[in-house]
Amino acid sequence: MSTVNNKVSSLTQQPNKAKPSFSKQMLNSHSTIGLVVAAILYLVCISGTIAVFYPEFERWEQPNIPEFRSLSPQAIDNAYQGYMQKINNPSNSIYVVLPTQELPRAHVSDGENEWWLDSQGHLLEEVSQPWTTMLKDLHVYLHLPKNIGLMIVSLLGIMMTHLIISGVLAHTRIIKDAFSFKRGGTGQRQSIDLHNRLSVWALPFHLMIAITGAFFGLVSILILIAASAFFDNDRDALIAEIYGKEPIINNAPALDVVNTMQTFKKIAPKATPIYTVVQNIGKDNQYIEVAATLPERLIYSEIYHFNADGSFIGEQGMSTGDIGQQAIYSVYRLHFGHFGGYLIKLSYFLLGLALTYICVSGINIWLNKRKGVDNINFLWSGFVLGTPLALSFSFIISLVTSLSPVATFWGVVALALGLSVYIKCEHKIKATLAIYNAVALIALIICYQFLADPKHYSNLQYSINIALMVFVVCFVIYKIKVNKKMLSLAHS
C-alpha cells in the first residue's frame, strides 16, 4: 500500500530536485492516474467487453421465448390490449419493443414490468435476465446507487482520456516503435510492447469510448449550467431544444395501433421500426411514437409522432436536425457497437479485450518494475483472474438458484482476493485461479445443458455453448504451455 500511496503522492513534486523532462512528467502522471483507477477501469472494461453481446446473453438466459423477425400491426395492438388487461393502473409510457436482427423477440414494457410476446402479440412470461442485468449494471453503475455509479463511471471516461493523452505524450518512440513487438525474454519487454502497440493503433477507438463514456454521466453538469444560462433553469426546455419537442395533444381520439403502423409503413418505407410507445395511454392527450433505424445512419433512431388514431403528426427530426443533434443521437450506438451486425460486435469485443489487456498490463509493468513483491501483487493477480471467475460463477448461481448474481459476484471477488493473500505467490495464484476459471466455465455449460430445455435451443444457444467450450480448451492449452515454460525455467 505504501508504494501506491507514495506513487499517488508523487504528484506532489519535490522543489529541490531537478525538473524531470516533459515526457517523464507525462509518464509519471500516466502511471499515477493508471494506478488509482486501474481496478475500477478493469471492471468497466471487462464488463463492457462482454456486454457487447448482451442481447445474445439475454436470449441465452431465457431460451424458451419464441423468436421471429417481425410483429404484425395487429399483434402490436394485441400486446397493448393484453397489457391493459393485466395492469389496472397503467404507467404513462407503454413500449412494445419489436424484434430486430440482433434480438429476434418482442416484449411489452412500462419501464417497471416487462413481458415477452409471442408472434401474435400475446403476453407470455415476464422478462427475467438477472445475470445480464447484473453485467450491464456493473458496466454502467458498478452496482452502486445509479446516480453515484454513473458519475464515477463517467469520471473514469475523463481519466481514460487523461491516460490516453499522457500516454501518447510520454511515448517518445511512438513512430520509431510503431510496429515493434519483442516476445519472450523476462516478459517485461513483451508486456510494454504489447501495451504500447495495442494502445497506439486503437487510439481512435479508445478515445471514442472514453469521451462518449464520459458524456453519458457528466452531461448533467452541462445541462445544469446551460439551463441556468440560456433557459431560465428550465432543464426540460434545454432537453427539448436538443432532443426535439413532444407534440401537444388535446381531446385525443381512441387508440388505433394498426392504422398507425400502416401509416408508418407508407411514410417511412425504408425505416426499420425498433419500438412503438403509447404516451399517456388512456388519457386525453395520448399519442403514439414509432422509433425506427434508418439505413446508413448511425443515429439511434428517428422518432415518428402519430395521433392515437394513426394520423401522422411529424418527425422528431433526429435524422434531419442540426449536425450537432445528429452527432449526439449517434453517441449510444457508437459507444456500444450496436450497428453493422456480428462483424462489428466481434471487432468491438476484440478492441474491448485489448483495452482490458492494456489496463491489466499497465499495472503489471509497474509491479514488475518494483524491486519486491507484496500484497499488492497478490491482490492484483487475484482481482484480475477473480473477476471473470465471479462472472461465470454468478451465472451458474443465477441459473440454479434465485440468489442475487450481484451478491454472488462480489462474494466470489472477495474470496478470490482472500485466497490470493493466503497463497502469497503470484504464479500459484494465477495457476489456481486459471484452473477455477476453466472449471467454472465447464460447470456453467453443463448446468445450462441440464437446466435449459434443448427443444427450445436455437443456433444461438449452440453457438454460445460451443464458443465457451472452445475458449476453455484454448485457455487450458495456453496455461499448460505457460506452466511447462515456467517449470523448465525453474529446473534450468
Binding site: H162, K182, P204, S228, G324, L351
Partner: protein, 193 residues
C-alpha cells in the same frame, strides 16, 4: 461505382487496400533505407480504402469501419512480424513485509488531496464553462454550440487535469483555473443576463 459493384466486392477491395497500405507502412518502418515512395503509396492506398468504406456504407459507418480495420490489420501485422526471444526467468525479487504505513508527511498529503480536488472538481466546472464560452463564438445555432460543448468538454477537462497533475506550482495553477472559472461565469451569465 458502388452502384454497379456488389457491396461484398467493394468491402473486400477496401480490406485489401487497407491491408496493402498497412503492409507498405510496415515496410517503410522496417527497412531504414526504404523509399519515401512506399509511404506515399501507403497513404494513397489507405485513402482509397477509406473512400471505398464510405462509398459502401455511408460516411458515418464507413469511417468507423475503416478505423477498426486499420487497427486490427496493424495488430495482426505486429503479431506476425514479432521477434521471439528465448524465455528468461524473471530476476528473483524479495518479498516485502506488508507495509501499510504511509510514509508521506501531512503537508504532502494535503497537497495531494488539493491536487486531486482541482483535477476532478474544479477542472470539471472550468472545462464545461470554457468550452461553452468558446463554443458560443462559433457562428452556429445554440443547439450545435451546446453539442460541441457536450462532446468536447471531456477532452478539455483531461487536458486541464493533465496540466494540474504535472505542475510544480499548485497554488498558482489553482488561482489561474479559479480565475478562469470566474471569468467564464461572468462571461456566460454577466453578459447574457
Amino acid at each position: 461505382m458502388t452502384g454497379t459493384i456488389p457491396p461484398v466486392i467493394t468491402g473486400a477491395l477496401a480490406l485489401l487496400l487497407c491491408s496493402a497500405g498497412v503492409f507498405l507502412l510496415w515496410r517503410y518502418w522496417r527497412y531504414k533505407n526504404s523509399s519515401i515512395g512506399n509511404l506515399i503509396i501507403a497513404s494513397i492506398l489507405l485513402a482509397g480504402s477509406s473512400a471505398l468504406c464510405i462509398a459502401n456504407t455511408g460516411p458515418e459507418f464507413g469511417t468507423v469501419y475503416f478505423l477498426i480495420t486499420i487497427s486490427i490489420i496493424a495488430w495482426l501485422l505486429i503479431i506476425i512480424t514479432s521477434d521471439s526471444q528465448p524465455t528468461k526467468a524473471t530476476p528473483a525479487r524479495y518479498q516485502h513485509r506488508n507495509i501499510l504505513v504511509n510514509k508521506t508527511n501531512k503537508a504532502q498529503k494535503s497537497q495531494t488531496v488539493a491536487r486531486w480536488f482541482i483535477m476532478f472538481v474544479l477542472c470539471g466546472f472550468t472545462s464545461v464553462l470554457t468550452t461553452m464560452v468558446l463554443a458560443l463564438m462559433f457562428p452556429v445555432s445554440l443547439t450545435n454550440q451546446l453539442v460541441i460543448t457536450a462532446l468536447s468538454f471531456p477532452l478539455v477537462w483531461s487536458i486541464f487535469s493533465l496540466w494540474v497533475s504535472v505542475t510544480e506550482h499548485l497554488l498558482k495553477s489553482f488561482m489561474l483555473i479559479a480565475s478562469l472559472t470566474g471569468l467564464m461565469v461572468l462571461t456566460l451569465f454577466g453578459v447574457l443576463a
